[in-house]
Symmetry: C2
């Protein structure tokens, strides 16, 4: 018999998710989480760098899936097309874990520090996308610009999906992409002020 129950990390994630939902992020201490998981505060910090990170461990997975999809896009695809493929790949994963994603989202939406961390994760995702685009031969600043835009599209589609029902995330992403194209195609001349 093992000296400790298995999957300590998973138990911590589970306990944190429950407690953040029950009492809110601020009113939950790390000691609380560890206790519910049958562990100690010190062990919590061996698995997660801080109290927020426990909610964001899945992000790495998304970033990898994204990069893989961008890399797999045909050579003929424009940067924006390749990035759109990545968005669809990530959307598929998120929709798979639908319920979990929504619970997580509700917790994050209720707390400013968590939103801050989410932004950092989003920026990291943008960084991964930039790398994937560069690997396709896309130069800066187009690579950065495309990556940032893609992340923005995802954010907006995801926000819609989180708060509404019955619409697939992939559909919302495609809609947002279309609207982005329309918004930028005829406006934003680079020649000078609008007025």
């Amino acid at each position: 018999m093992s000296r400790w129950e298995p999957n300590a990390r998973g138990r911590l994630e589970q306990a944190a998710l429950e407690l953040y939902a029950e009492r809110g992020f601020d009113d939950t201490t790390v000691a609380d989480i560890a206790e519910r998981a049958g562990l100690t505060k010190r062990t919590f910090f061996r698995h997660f760098t801080d109290k927020r990170e426990v909610l964001f461990s899945g992000q790495t997975l998304l970033a990898e899936a994204y990069a893989a999809a961008v890399a797999a896009a045909p050579a003929s695809a424009t940067p924006m097309d390749a990035v759109a493929d990545g968005l669809r790949a990530v959307a598929a994963i998120v929709e798979d874990r639908g319920e979990l994603a929504r619970r997580r989202q509700a917790i994050v939406a209720a707390n400013r520090e968590l939103q801050e961390r989410e932004l950092l994760k989003r920026a990291a995702l943008a960084g991964v996308i930039v790398d994937a685009l560069r690997a396709r031969g896309v130069a800066d600043p187009v690579a950065s610009l495309t990556a940032e835009t893609a992340v923005a599209v995802f954010k907006i589609a995801y926000a819609q999906w989180s708060t509404t029902e019955n619409t697939a995330l992939t559909t919302l992403i495609d809609q947002a992409l279309g609207q982005l194209s329309a918004a930028t195609a005829n406006g934003a001349s680079a020649s000078g002020p609008a007025g």
Copy 2:
């Protein structure tokens, strides 16, 4: 004669900027900052909500300038054009405070927590832009999308400006806008995957 030296807040900002630059953010305690400013830790936290915020008090100003510029754009301007005007307005302010902006930027670039806070400020700016666009009658999700894109453009142009010399921020912004237009106009069809 006054009981205390004037401009406590400004002295704290100055002391923090110096110390963060000298020793780094992590190796500077709030007590250190307060001491250099001739104040106490408790007073620091009366002026700033946390140790990071002391570097970001100017952001409010930028957001206001941005909103004003968007509101002042002619009715005939597209959302993207209006937002581009806002970008130019903000760029002008940043370039005015050029040296300070660069010092601040170097400190932020060296620390992850500060980058996180910067992202939050950027998101807040996006929120202000969305409001300004809605006030112009732009509906969601085009408003959100345009705002996020504008912020992304600013981020990229600002990053270029921070690390290079001799190119005006406004010029870089105009270039980025042009490239964005090119990147989105012909790619990113909303009809389905690229491959």
